[in-house]
């Protein structure tokens, strides 16, 4: 087991009493080496699930557990700060990566990489060595080296921002990658590059969760499991064929099934 989400309930942190929960009892177990796709109509809670696992402060877990394998032992990570979760190998690829003018992409990546190295007792890297370390990763994502000297995501196109997310993933080498709508806003060429990047980072020790609205991404990254989220609950799980069925028939039949 890599991660096990048990009966997870969550709502907005600043929500009023009586406000609806966004996640209403999620159960999900992911093993190393697996690729899971989380699908569902808008507002079903897909992105929230990814953000809650990463520790986004906008959400508050009202009940349930998230147990994550740390050094061979399952530990509840709800008390860990987002940076500690990151250091334990949890990575969130943002749907809308944040632009930070004034911080160069290089210093951001290095700050991040060194923070994670430090926590794992690995030596930090000097700037020149780090640039060398980045070269093959940039090549994998078909990114020019000049991206390193620009402000983080500043003035990047939609496709460039998403490639930059996968570059960060390649740098941090996480055990659990939660990719939130990584396919949105991508043209087909950029999508292929991003998918190639994600695929090449896959191994038997790590797992990937693809949060997506469309089946298109799954043509390039093959999921082992597909889950459909609706109103904060997983209403159906299956294999890749479920995604194809959704593509063909939409979500309505599932929703009817769930309501009945």
């Amino acid at each position: 087991m890599l991660i096990e989400v048990k009966n997870l309930h969550a709502k907005l942190s600043d929500s009023e009493e009586g406000d609806k929960e966004i996640l209403r009892g999620i159960n999900l177990t992911i093993k190393p080496g697996e690729v899971h796709a989380i699908m569902g109509p808008n507002g079903s809670g897909k992105s929230t699930l990814a953000k809650v696992i990463a520790g986004h402060p906008s959400f508050e877990v009202s009940s349930g557990e998230i147990n994550y394998n740390i050094n061979g032992k399952a530990q509840d990570i709800l008390e860990l700060d987002p940076d500690e979760r990151s250091k334990q190998g949890i990575f969130l690829g943002f749907q809308y990566p944040v632009e930070i003018p004034g911080v160069s992409n290089l210093s951001f990546l290095r700050e991040s990489f060194n923070a994670v190295c430090k926590s794992q007792g690995i030596d930090e890297m000097e700037e020149d060595a780090f640039r060398e370390y980045l070269k093959p990763k940039l090549k994998l994502l078909e990114m020019d080296e000049s991206f390193l000297d620009r402000g983080v995501n500043t003035g990047f196109s939609g496709g460039e921002k998403k490639k930059n997310e996968i570059l960060q993933m390649a740098v941090l080498n996480p055990r659990l990658s939660l990719l939130d709508e990584t396919d949105s806003g991508l043209d087909i060429d950029a999508l292929k590059v991003v998918a190639k990047g994600v695929n090449s980072l896959k191994n038997k020790y790590n797992a990937t969760v693809l949060v997506t609205h469309y089946q298109r991404l799954l043509d390039y990254i093959t999921p082992d499991f597909v889950h459909v989220l609706y109103k904060g609950q997983i209403i159906k799980s299956g294999d890749k064929s479920l995604a194809l069925e959704l593509e063909e028939k939409g979500y309505d039949w599932l929703i009817e099934e769930a309501n009945s």
């Binding site: 940076d83 250091k87 911080v103 991040s112 923070a115 960060q168």
Partner: protein, 419 residues
Amino acid sequence: MSLTEKSKSYFDTLKGLNSYSNEIGVQALQYFEEHGLPSKRAEDYKYNNFESETCEVLRSSSIDQLSAEDRETLAALPGEHKAVFINGLYSEKESILPKGVNLKEVGQPLLSPINDPFEAISYQTAQKSYTLTFPKNEKSALVSIANFHLSNELETTSSLINLNIEKGAQAEVLEFHSSRGDHRNQTFTVTNLTLEENAHLKFASASLGGLSQIGVYKVKATIAKDANLNSLTFSVSGALVRNNIEIYLKGVGSHATANGLYTARGEQHQDNFSHIHHAAPHSTSNQIFKGIIDDSGRGAFTGKIVVHRDAQKVDSSQLNKNLLLSKKAQVDTRPQIEVYADDVKCGHGATVGQINQEEVFYLESRGIPRSKAQKILCHAFGQEVLESFEQKEVSSFLSGLLYNNFEKFALEHLELGDA
């Protein structure tokens, strides 16, 4: 207007001093006699009470030597060429100027009438006036002016420096105001910039004052036809600091960039007053001033842009952005535009905000702890302004000072709670 006791005493002291030019001395005294020290009732100084904050008496400093600490400061300044001033007096033995650049102890006629009480004080109290000339059609190496203001408790220091950038010359100058100690003292300076036709000047003015220092730094520029000023005001310490920036775009096609960065924490006040005159057609200016205010600090920005009659096709933009890091931090921002021509483009804006929590989370989700993420974002906020300065050695030097400033004084108030 009748002067307060303190202003009267200042005036009496000023009267006893010699100016480098009779004409200017008469004007300075007359101006001060009419206005005195500015209280909050003076419209241009409404955000701080300099009348009550200034030292009780105007007494000049008697220090004339650099300390070991000052020498470290000097050594750290960027570039090989330094012009060293100690309490307004040029020190030839400490200075190295680039070939062709010359410094003379001469006065200079006023670029424009004295319009500020501290400018009036500076003209009387500065011991001498100097002019650094950058020769025409030549590109000169960076000169760091180390302007040391060294005083004992309750003393005043002043300097009066003119930079003449001759026709077609290209110059780069950092004026670095350095004070030491945490005792109460005050510094009033005037720096005049004259850009002749097609001259280019990159000019940064940085002040690093002690925690109890009052500083009023005036930079006055006149810019001729097709000349270009890229300027930066960097103001991150001192108890009460006022930066007066006054720019006259006098020639067709002249341009000024007048950016700035100020930070205040503890009880510090940073007051910025910028006045840009477009007196010629096709002149352009742009301005970004940013402030980072923590603790009970206060910041102020007044940006006046005046487009004179017949100055058509002027293009001017101004922006003031502020980051407040604590609930008690305060900032006043006041954009003012007066347009007397009809075919111009002027834009201005101001923002006051807090650190973006989505940005903090983005960094946290990459393994960077919250406190560090917040420091990085504060630095980045300022960095945008520093990077706009076209002399890279200077901007990276100032960036280092800014970062140390954050490192030294942990931003404890960043936990904005429910923000």
